[in-house]
Amino acid sequence: MRTVSAEEAVAMIPNGARLMVGGFMGVGTPERLLDELVRQQKSELTIICNDAAVPGKGVGKLFDAALVSTLTASHIGLNPRAQQQMMANKIAVDLVPQGTLVERIRAGGCGLGGVLTPTGAGTIVEEGKRPIEINGKTFLLETALRSDFALIHAFLADYLGNLAYALTARNFNPVMAMAADTVIVTAEHIVPVGVIAPDHVVTPAPLVDYLVANG
């Protein structure tokens, strides 16, 4: 694990990169990294995240700045800019049921090829997918998702990179921290090793590649 500035962290991300971004309606999103993506004008991004947040918040900032080319998410209904860009064919949007999305990411992080879920069977979500019958029940084969980078926000990070999260700001963060080639983390507080008790570490240090320094 290396400690870097937000500027250095984002400088590693090329245009056209595939990014997972933690957060749920902008809660638990690494805002400083998103601000820096906008400042450095990283464009043609492929974004995997739960939702499109709202303008001015979380990944919503990337739509404000028109930096996204492809979005995989479960919900974009509260971001009119993302909706407009989708309707105008400026971004390709793949809408995925939320439970399927998180399991596809989990599978990507756990070395699985995909998961079988009953969600979406018999609906338009089924189109182009392989239905598999198990014990008389139909499941869809949903393939694993991975990314070049995961942008993660934690509540506590220690000097080694162990992470703990706060309340509903946990959401997709620990799952995404398993599913990317490079994991970049911001934290509300960076604390000495030992402050986060072993039982309270949610994301173990070896998963974290870069911790963005505070202050």
């Binding site: 209904g77 399991e103 509903t168 700001a169 949610v202």
Partner: protein, 216 residues
Amino acid sequence: MDAQTLIARRVALELRPGNLVNLGIGIPTLVANYIPPELKVFFQSENGLIGTGPIPEQGMVHPHLTDAGGRPISALPGASTFDSAMSFGLIRGGHVDVTVLGGLQVDCEGHLANWMIPGKMVPGMGGAMDLVTGAKRVIVAMQHAAKGKSKIVQKCSLPLTSSRPVDLVVTDLAVISFPGGQMTLLETAPGVSVAEVMAVTEADLLIPETVPQMRI
């Protein structure tokens, strides 16, 4: 009593002590206001919380404690938080006893459409598909008709949320269920006759000999 209050109060009667309950956005959210405090129901918010409490007082908002719409909420004593994989494991794994969701259409087979109007509104399904597929009991809380058109239809024209039929539909006019796979009128709202329900329902609705008034 306005339509939304009526629906929310009727749905609240369906919840049992100890139930794990997920409420959708809109009318379903109001159901929490009509649960007697002694009933001890657990409310889940799918962004990772069991034990959601009321909207916090001014000055008590925590930026890391929100509902699935991103609005500030509180957590009750005994609450727990977890990641999204756990949250949807609870939902898909059949651990959620009841989910209450809004609807655009419900058809005579109990199929729900509630997540998109092609060409007009494509917000995404969020957690709705997993909730309808995985919860033990699915209740739809919605207006019976919108802009003069019945939302209770013979066959959904909008994209389905799940192939799994819902269990109960509560509208401002009626309570409908599907015993033996047959769409059946269970109750009518106070002051509403069976004929009035029939007149605004665009589906074959089985009418039992006696249809009691809605309990609220």
